[in-house]
Structures are given as C-alpha cells and as structure tokens.
C-alpha cells in the first residue's frame, strides 16, 4: 500500500496534539526515531467508517524557524515525506498565538485542515469562535473538536481525507508583508522560478520568504544546489535589508513576523471571535498560579512536590524492584543447581543473569519515574518548576527544568542516574540539556550510597549522618560547577532563549499518561538491554581470565587437603548434618573459607582486571589507591555497589553482601594501608568517576552519539582523579 494516504499532525506544544493523536490511533502507534537527532516522531494508524490512513505525530513547535531540532525535523518531514495533508491542531482558547504556526504552513502551501481543539474550554472562558467564518477567511477547512472526549474527530478525519483528495498540489498563500517586502517577494520569486531554483521541493514563494528571513538552514540547502544563484538571492536580500534599515529601521525577518500577526489580527477581527467575558479576567489556572508560584509559598510547595515525586518513585517502585531482584536471584539459583560447573555456568550466572537482571531491575523504577514526570508535565506544573528555579540554574549555564533530572539522579541521596539522564528529555534547550545530562551522574545515587556508608562507617563513624549530608551537598556543588565548566568549554555558547509558555493547569488524561509511560519504558529496555548484556559479559571475562595456573591452584588444594587430614572426618559430617555443629567443626569451616578466599583473591589478581589494577598502581598512587581499590573501582563500572563485593574478594573475604558489609568495614578499619584520608579520597573518586555503564548507555542514547558516552567516562574519571589526588596529597601532608 505505497500510495496510502499519510496525514501529519502538527501544532503548538500544549495545544492537545498528543491527546488527539492518541484519540485517533488508540494503541496502534509506535515511536519512530530520526537518525542523528533525539526528536521522536510517532506513527500510528487510523481506521474507522471504511476510512484508513497512516498518521504521523510531528514534534510540538511554535514556528518553522531553523533554530530548534524539533522545528527542523517538522520542516524536513513535510518537504521530504510530502504527507497528503496536515492536520494543524489549534487551541481555541489561545487562537491568535496558535494561528502563527498555521500561517507559516499556509506560506509553505501544504494541504491543510485546521482542528480547532478545546472548544469546550474556550466556551467556559467566554470565547466563541465562528469556525465557518474562520474557514471562509483563511480558505481552509476548520473543524471544531474536543480531543479529550473524541468529540468531532470523525468529522475531522472525513474533512482531512476529502481535502487531501482535492488538493494534491502545494499552494502557498499570499500573505502581505508590507509594500516593500511584497515587491521584494515578487522579484525574488521571479528570479527563483526563472532559474528553476529548488522548485522541485519548495514553492518559489517559500524559498523567497526563507531567503528574506535569512534562514540559515534554507540558505545552506540553496548553497548546496546552486551556489551562484544562492549568492545572487542573498545579494538581493541585502539590498532590501539596507533599504528597510534606512527607511523603517527594521529587519526583514522582524517585519515578516509582525505582518504575520497583523494578518492573523485582521482575520480574527472580522467577527471570528466573540468574547462574552473580559479577556483579562483571572481564570482558575491563574488563581492556582497565585499560590503555586507565590514568592514564599511557591518554593515550599515545589520542594514538597519534588519530594513527593521522589518518594513516589523510590518508595513505590521498591517492591516491584525487589520482585525483579528476587526473580533473578532465583534464576541464578536454578542455573547453579542444573548447569554443570565450569566457565559456561560462571558466565551464565555472573555475566548474563546478573547483567540482564541489572537492566530489568531498573524497569519498575523507570516506569514510576516516567509516570511521575508525565503527571507533572501534563498538568503543566513542570513549566512552573522551570520558571521558579531558572534564576539559580542559569548561574551555572543550565535551565530551570534541569532541577528535575538532578533530583531524580540522587540530588536527594538515593536516586538513580539512569532515569535522571532520561528525565533531561523535558529540556528543550540543547546545550543546557547536554550539560545537565553529563553532570547528573555526579549525584549520589542509590548504588553509591552503600559504598559511601561502608567507608564513612569504617572511618568517620562518629559523625555518620553529618558526613553523608556533606557528601550530598558536595555532589550538588560539584555537579553544578562541572556543568558550568562544560558550558564555558565544550558546550560553550549563549544560553538558549528562555521564552517559555506557562500552559494552563489541566487534568491529564489517563490514556495519555499510560501510553507515555509504557513507550519510554519499552524504549529503555530495548536500547539499554543489548549494550549492557555485552559489557556485563566482558567485565565477567576480565575478572575471570586468564585463570590461575594449575600449579597455583594446587597450592590451595594442598592446603585444604592438609587441613582435612589433620582433623577427624566426623567434623565434616557434622557440617553437612542438620544439628548445630560443634566449635571445632565451625573452626574448620572458617579455615576452609579462608583458603577459598585466598584463592579467589589470587585468581582475581591473576586475571586481566587484576593485572590492569596492578598496572594502574603506577598512577593510582597519586590519589592513594592500591591494586585492590583499582580492581574494585573497575568493577564499579558495572554497577557502583559491585565495588563492595569486589573489594571483599580482593581482601580474601569471599563474596560480601553490600547490605551487610560489617566484616569488610572492620577489615578496612584495621588495615594499615587504609586511613581516613585514603577513605575520603576513595569516597570522592567513587562519587565523581565514570558513571556505571547502564548510565553510559543511556547517555549515548539520549545525546545521540557514542562520543558523548566516551566523553562522559573520560571527563568524569579525570575530574574525579584530580579531586581525589588533591584530597589525598594535601590530606596526607596535613594529617
């Protein structure tokens, strides 16, 4: 069905575009991704009353300027994919502002139908729109709908499909931009038509308009086709610009925008809108804002809401997360029982099951987090958070919306950087978003906490709570400073304009919330799952191979043999039995465990990871780390809590449970190689070095390039290394 009709949905953010898309397609939709960009476009199918077509949901935009990824995606889609018709969703209670985008689609000339959405809300606000009059004036079908309840959407689709059949050619509307520019438009269009410049894809009038607006994106497309012609047009535009500058003191792009609004005003004034209530009246939404963004109550309520979200995410997901963990440990036990001993079994358990378990274990957490964020976003509260926090975050080159990502990542100790990185999607400013997503892993996530607790418990036991609080503050400080550092170096550039819409508060639709949550979660499982499994197996192999040579293993075997020869076989029977073993039997058991531990330590040191750890001592003496710490930190790349179990193995303690690490704390506390300064240095390093690879996989996905993943690993590790070295070198001289 190659000639099946495709309908694109376009409109402002907050105009109800997603709601309409969900209402039209139900659950028959999937997320598509453009290569190289992180902007999603969703596709779905509509079929009802014998009508059937493909629906594409374009990103929500205010304009067709070349400045944001969303806008460029929408533009390119229309030009390259040529949908049969677009449905432009317009918020009836905010008609003039929404028609600005419609106006630009009309300039482009794509066949279009307007869906006048939220007529119910408008009516409540005393706004009545004569849609027939509007339709006559702009020469396009206008269908009143209520996307939320589905009212009018069948009629809308009938109108859209009929319109697509009747209008297959693009016909740019001739909007007046004032005498000077109209004349210039005519001249430019003639030049373009005469040279057949870009006319295959773009109407001549649109190209003329984009050259007048000095639209970089269109100019570079023009340059790539015909440099000479492009230069001639630019020269002509320069003439016009100079003339305008002298006569009216304005630039063409500004005048064009002004005239678009002039055009809209002239239409709206012709009895299209009837207001029965004073437009400046305070609506319920404004009254809510009086409280929620109040100078004193506002920040307090925000703190409570964010705390609430945090609690919701981490408290309610705890149970399903525990189920996931229990399931995977059960799977481990099953594999342990039924698979014969050997490398395959070891890989299956330590590599594959732990690896997949690591990914899927996050799933409930991510689902809850996305649900919470979708709730805040769809109600309109998120925009208020950005509004209130912007002044502070701007100092560090960030955006008001960054706060969410930091909090989820562990801004309140115990979050997780994986959902945190994914939460940066709510940021629309590209540089601020990158700076945020690269620095959220500095926060103290739930996996770093047990490591911090272990070291604080062992070396700073008197002021445990105070130290933990200090480390939370330190994480914030360092993350914000690092963001600032990034914004003046690799992510240098003026801040993205903040001009932000504060949409009216609305009740979200549950269908929207669930689709949104499920979509994001599934995306995570698919993308993260593959990478993580590979790396998990790689890390397992590094810590297993090469295996201890036979002669070394024999030494431990001999020790075991020697022990059992010295004692009566009855003791073994006692250990196997069900009765309480005697003190002698327990002593034997302890001795045997010690030998096992020593063997595991020797094997770890002999493995690739062990050799790397030993080799790293050449530079790791600077922050005071020995080979044991190095391996543990290497293992921490899999997940930060692995640091504890690896440290346990390297200190011959066998497997140490991160939740019950008293024995390790005692060992470290008594080890002459450890002191408070070294502990502090390790804590700092753990807080700031390379994020775990689940996070890295998410960073790569969200940033759209593996280079940012590599950058994140190197930048963070280097940053942590410098800090730890500073702490250790200064600390060990002072104390």
């Amino acid at each position: 069905m190659s000639n099946e009709l495709t309908i694109a949905l376009a409109g402002n953010p907050n105009a109800g575009k997603t709601t309409l898309f969900n209402a039209l397609t139900g659950s028959r939709q999937h997320v598509g991704n453009y290569p190289g960009v992180t902007v999603d476009t969703k596709e779905g199918r509509y079929s009802k009353n014998g009508l059937s077509c493909r629906l594409v949901d374009l990103p929500g935009i205010y304009s067709l300027s070349p400045y944001s990824e969303e806008e460029v995606v929408a533009r390119d889609y229309l030009v390259n994919q040529r949908p049969g018709v677009i449905i432009n969703i317009v918020d009836a209670s905010n008609l003039e502002r929404n028609l600005y985008l419609s106006c630009q689609f009309m300039e482009m000339g794509v066949p279009m139908v307007i869906a006048l959405n939220m007529i119910d809300v408008a009516k409540k606000r005393g706004i009545e729109i004569d849609h027939q009059r509007l339709s006559e004036l702009i020469g396009l079908p206008v269908c009143p709908v209520v996307a939320r309840s589905g009212q009018g959407i069948s009629e809308l689709m009938v109108a859209a499909i009929a319109h697509a059949r009747e209008h297959s050619k693009w016909q740019p509307a001739k909007i007046s931009y004032g005498e000077d520019l109209d004349a210039a438009m005519l001249d430019l269009s003639e030049m373009i038509k005469a040279a057949d410049f870009l006319t295959q894809d773009y109407p001549a009038r649109w190209t003329a308009l984009k050259y007048l607006e000095k639209d970089d994106r269109h100019l570079s497309i023009g340059d790539s086709v015909n440099v000479e012609m492009s230069a001639r047009l630019v020269e002509k535009v320069e003439q016009v610009s100079r003339h305008l500058e002298q006569t009216v003191g304005s630039e063409p792009d500004a005048m064009i925008a002004d005239h678009r609004y002039g055009f809209i005003k002239s239409i709206v004034k012709q009895n299209v809108v009837h207001r029965t209530i004073d437009p400046d009246r305070l609506y319920a939404s404004d009254r809510i804002d009086k409280v929620l963004t109040n100078r004193f109550a506002g920040p307090l309520i925000m703190l409570l809401v964010l705390l609430g979200l945090y609690n919701f995410t981490f408290t309610y997901s705890a149970l399903p997360v525990a189920w996931c963990e229990a399931f995977f440990s059960w799977l481990g036990v099953v594999a342990d029982t039924f698979v014969p001993d050997g490398y395959f079994k070891s890989m299956l358990i330590a590599g594959i099951i732990d690896g997949i378990g690591g990914v899927l274990g996050f799933v409930p957490l991510i689902m809850f987090m996305f649900f919470g964020i979708a709730l805040l976003e769809d109600t309109g509260y998120l925009a208020r958070v950005a509004f209130m926090m912007d002044r502070i975050f701007r100092i560090f080159g960030l955006h008001g919306s960054s706060v969410m990502a930091y909090i989820i990542s562990g801004g309140i100790a115990g979050g997780c950087a994986v959902p945190g990185v994914m939460a940066t999607r709510t940021l629309r400013s590209p540089k601020e978003r990158m700076a945020t997503l690269l620095t959220v892993p500095f926060m103290n996530c739930g996996a770093k906490l047990p490591v911090l607790a272990l070291l604080v418990g062992a070396f700073f036991s008197e002021n445990q709570a105070r130290y933990m609080f200090l480390f939370t503050l330190l994480a914030w400080l360092m993350a914000l400073l690092a963001a600032k550092l990034l914004r003046v170096t690799v992510l240098r550039g003026a801040s993205t304009p903040f001009v932000l819409e504060l949409p009216p508060y609305r009740f979200p639709t549950f269908q929207g919330l669930f689709i949104h949550t499920w979509e994001k979660t599934w995306h995570y499982i698919k993308k993260a799952g593959t990478v993580i499994l590979g790396i998990s197996i790689l890390l397992w192999a590094m810590m297993t191979f090469p295996a201890l040579p036979e002669t070394d293993r024999q030494v431990f075997e001999d020790q075991r043999q020697q022990m059992s020869d010295q004692v009566s076989p009855l003791l073994f029977a006692e250990l196997e039995g069900t009765t309480e073993p005697s003190i002698e039997a327990l002593a034997l058991y302890e001795d045997l465990l010690a030998v096992d531990g020593a063997e595991a330590e020797a094997a770890l040191r002999y493995s690739v990871a062990g050799r790397i750890g030993t080799a790293m001592e050449r530079i790791s003496w600077l922050p005071g780390f020995d080979w044991r710490t190095n391996i543990a930190l290497l293992g921490g790349f899999a997940a930060k809590e692995v640091i504890i179990s690896t440290l346990g193995t390297s200190y011959s303690l066998g497997q140490v449970d991160p939740e019950a690490s008293e024995s390790l704390a005692a060992t470290l506390g008594n080890d002459p190689g450890w002191d408070a300064v070294k502990a502090l240095s390790v804590i700092i390093f753990v807080m700031f070095y390379a994020p775990c690879f689940v996070t890295v996989a998410c960073i790569i996905k969200e940033a759209g390039s593996w280079k940012w993943g590599v950058f994140s690993i190197t930048f963070n590790t280097f940053f942590a290394f410098l800090l730890s070295t500073l702490v250790y070198q200064v600390g060990s001289r002072l104390f």
Partner: protein
Amino acid sequence: MAKINLREMARNQSGVITAVKVGGELGQRIRDMGLVPGAEILVQGRAPLYDPVALRIMGGTLSLRNNEADYIEVEVADE
C-alpha cells in the same frame, strides 16, 4: 503615555509593545511567541528571585528572563 522597558514594569501593570529591539534567534523566538509590536501585555508576576517574569498575552501566559525582557519596549499609561 510613556515608553518603558519591559523589565521596569510592575506586577499587574499592563501596556502595549512598541518595539522588539533584537534580531537573530532570540528575536525570532520572542516574536514567534506573540511578543510583537501592537500586542497587549500584562505582567502577571515574577519568579521568587524576581527573574524570570510571567506575562499574560493573547489569552496565554509566557515567561521570559529579565535580560531578554530588556529588548522589549512597552508603552504604558502614566501613573
């Protein structure tokens, strides 16, 4: 009638935009959102740290930073 800078407007004060003195991306963004000469605005409030500012325009609410508001000139009624 007096012409003042948007930054200097008080809470609940209304006026009509007379000029937007910036081009490029920022200028485009400001205009895209409806802040064009002739548009009526009302200062709805400011964030807790006095920046950004929230405006009521054409039935919707927008917020922008003070350093962005600096480019917008507004005509207001004399006190």
